[in-house]
């Protein structure tokens, strides 16, 4: 199969490609209703796109009371690769041009093993997806990493939890290996993009997407666009202080949110409680190495264990306290909570909501939904595909 070579020649073509991506196949007439162009001009641009091969006309749609329309759709062979590198695992997926996930793989891996080892794994997973017949090659790839990124260059900068990646040319290296364009971003931003494209945040212009996994981060969307900040570290809320003289944090400070609540902190607290005999439910779930995860806490809570419930409530209060501040400051139209701890579900959500609704101003909370992400592990890879498609579907 020939890979995507052309790019839209102007903004009209770019807009058409995005309409087809987000709205699926469509007739010329329907496209005309959604874009501010005359039918004649539209036809010209569609014809040019057909010539490039980026879109195809296949078959006729059912009549709507008159002449049947030609179905215009994005080239069915286009394939994007979405990669989401977490602290403890890797997600890789293939999508079509409409960003529907055709295949998805997950592999546990510690990001601290460094870029070379991780890349090897990513490429192996991509090869596996290709071998399964889902793609003959990739037209573009998006990749998320758990740390700040200098976005234009696609290079991680001073990432606390993956020091070995500092300055590693992720974009260039992956582009070389895959032979296609690549865009790199923070994993939290990609989750936000994913939920915006296919999840709970559709049609919301300004929202926050709080991802609670091994660490805590927050994707910020302003006017439909991800906001990355001056140095690419916007949304790094894990080290906001929630307790004046709280626990020591890996960053060197005390009382950071991440030190009090996150996947890692929760697991540690649960293990302590189990060992101290404060919770038989949790103790029963200890594995051979004496370890627990957020999943265990969720299970214990579901079984009614009061200690587990307390841990979740306490954590939700801490996160809610920070989110309350962010809501007052940012006045979003929606707050999405996702990441590994989504499994804690409505117990977590309830205490977050309580804090936010109590502490923030009524005007800001009046009509503010606080919800769990609906895409789970697909959010990151969908966002990654969205990132590269946004790039490729812009004028060259």
């Amino acid at each position: 199969m020939r890979r995507m070579t052309a790019r839209p020649a102007n903004t009209h073509q770019a807009r058409l490609l995005r309409l087809l991506r987000d709205g699926g196949p469509n007739s010329r007439a329907q496209l005309g209703d959604q874009i501010d162009l005359s039918r004649s001009k539209l036809a010209v641009e569609v014809d040019r796109l057909l010539e490039t091969g980026l879109v195809v006309a296949d078959g006729l749609a059912a009549s709507r009371g008159g002449r049947r329309s030609h179905n215009i759709r994005l080239a069915p062979g286009l394939r994007f690769l979405g990669v989401d590198i977490g602290a403890t695992s890797i997600d890789v997926a293939v999508t079509n041009a409409e960003l529907e996930v055709l295949g998805h793989l997950n592999h546990p891996m510690d990001v601290r093993e460094g870029p070379v080892a991780v890349f090897e794994q990513v490429l192996a997973m991509a090869a596996k997806l290709r071998a399964s017949g889902l793609a003959e090659g990739f037209d573009g790839a998006g990749i998320g990493v758990p740390g700040p990124v200098r976005f234009p260059e696609g290079v991680p900068v001073a990432p606390p939890i993956m020091p070995g990646w500092d300055g590693f040319p992720v974009r260039e290296a992956l582009s070389q290996e895959l032979g296609c364009p690549v865009m790199v971003d923070n994993d939290v931003n990609l989750m936000a993009l994913g939920e915006q494209h296919a999840g709970v945040a559709r049609s919301v212009g300004d929202f926050l997407c709080v991802k609670i996994g091994t660490g805590i981060g927050c994707g910020i969307v302003v006017g439909g666009e991800v906001y990355r900040g001056t140095t690419g570290s916007a949304g790094d809320i894990g080290h906001i202080q929630v307790e004046p003289d709280g626990r020591a944090c890996a960053c060197g400070n005390r009382g950071c949110l991440e030190a009090h609540f996150s996947g890692a902190a929760l697991a540690r607290d649960a293990e302590d409680a189990a060992r101290a005999g404060r919770s038989p439910e949790l103790a029963a779930r200890l594995d051979g190495a004496g370890k627990l995860t957020a999943v265990d806490v969720a299970a214990a809570a579901a079984a009614g264990d009061p200690t587990a419930l307390d841990l979740i409530r306490e954590g939700g209060n801490k996160v809610g306290q920070v989110i309350a501040g962010l809501v007052s400051f940012f006045n979003p139209g929606l707050v999405v909570i996702g990441g590994g701890v989504t499994g804690l579900g409505h117990n977590l959500l309830a205490s977050v909501r309580t804090q936010v609704y109590r502490q923030s101003l009524p005007l800001a909370t009046g009509n503010l939904p606080i919800v769990l992400g609906e895409l789970g592990p697909v959010a990151g890879v969908t966002g990654a595909a969205r990132l590269i498609s946004d790039h490729l579907f812009s004028p060259a």
Copy 2:
């Protein structure tokens, strides 16, 4: 004098008007260097603007080694009115089309007296400025109010410190009275616009502007544009909790930033200290009613009074704590501190900086200037003029 009737007919004309506003008089050739247009096209658009009377060609500039250029400038008779309504005083200013302040009045007044009384005062001040010969009429007016605003309609919504203004049609009423277009915004946003236009924030795309006066608010600029949030309450940081079981706040919660530090809280603390005999410097400054202001505290601190210095340091710590969180979240390129307490100067700034640099991530603070606003009371009115000129200098 005839008032501004025409509006730019297209984006080119709008951009030209803004170039002339921000860069002052200019020749066609120099404008051509700053705008992406051919000389011929540019000449056409300039001619059209000359026809409308929005710009004029007056005289020839000195030669730069060849034919002398015609000076193109915005119509010299254009006048904008900038109004900044604070909690305890009103600022009104007249500017020319380049937003230079030609005249400026200040009048103490309690905003709680309600919109009717305040409007009367504002109109009297505007009339006074007009009578002094600075303007024969106004081509537009911008007005800032100390509370959230539904921006498109120009109506305050649920403003805590000025309940009588809720839903009052500020834009429509003022437009009627003045007979010119009016735009309304939060006073903090206007301060940010002012500092961006003529102050410390020139050429910074993303920054925060913290205004500490009677209350505390924060202007948010993203990509050069003010961000107002979903309901217009973005930046309302006065009620972020800084102390878990802190002081009772007027909003009904405990431990709000505003309850611990703001012009009002500082004055109260200083009065308490003076009465309790903990500070002779402050006691000496008590007025007949036993009242003090931030200015008194600044003076006492300048005289070396340890209690006053402590109050400032403590307050700076509280504000710094909140700003540190915002810096982590928003990753701005600059933080500006302004408002009534600017008089506390470098004592305040020092403790804010200490908190922020200690608590926020190095990547976010690495190259982050935290500075005092440089426009003082002119910031608000300049921002107001900028607001309305941005509106009028956009395609109709």
